[in-house]
Amino acid sequence: EPEVTQTPSHQVTQMGQEVILRCVPISNHLYFYWYRQILGQKVEFLVSFYNNEISEKSEIFDDQFSVERPDGSNFTLKIRSTKLEDSAMYFCASSEVGGFGSAGGYTFGSGTRLTVV
């Protein structure tokens, strides 16, 4: 079964450093997403991406965050200057269709645990 692959599985970074989280969505999917889950809290939406641009983002997704699809396969989340509160599990997801009429068809990756020290 097709999978969404995320690397690395765990990343430790120093506060103030830039970090890039990588995701390889399912090859025929067109919509891409990032979610995060702070330990013990709910999974929160960060951003959705379609046709090489952000289609939706939450208040969490401020200027410190950016997303990119640098080639035909990768989808990355960059945090420019990490803060302690950015420590969380970050999930990538992809879907074949999105928005209107889409009941599901989302596939989540296994996540990257980011620890900011």
Partner: protein
């Protein structure tokens, strides 16, 4: 704003028994989707079951079924004949029907299956 509430942080069930996980949500919309996702120790979020709000019939997937009460804005998950592999964190989620792509998740219920 859409909110999803799971009031049971932890639940346990004996193997082969039945357990029900609770979920309530708040929305002003009439049509939407509801989901239950499972997150085992492998951390991957796996879709368990989904329900379209415009369908009156409760969704069923093998041992998993839901009790969808639209007026009460309640969406509980029943797991029958519980198996050790059902042990996981379960998240209830809401998604709008016609606009937007984001899920609104609850805080999760950690299910332990006792052999």
């Amino acid at each position: 704003a859409q909110t999803v509430t799971q009031s049971q942080p932890e639940m346990s069930v004996q193997e082969a028994e039945t357990v029900t996980l609770s979920c309530t949500y708040d929305t002003s919309e009439s049509d939407y989707y509801l989901f239950w996702y499972k997150q085992p120790p492998s951390r991957q979020m796996i879709l368990v079951i989904r329900q379209e709000a415009y369908k009156q019939q409760n969704a069923t997937e093998n041992r998993f079924s839901v009790n969808f009460q639209k007026a009460a804005k309640s969406f509980s998950l029943k797991i029958s004949d519980s198996q050790l592999g059902d042990a996981a964190m379960y998240f209830c989620a809401y998604r709008r029907l016609n606009t937007g792509n984001q899920f609104y998740f609850g805080t999760g219920t950690s299910l332990t299956v006792i052999p």
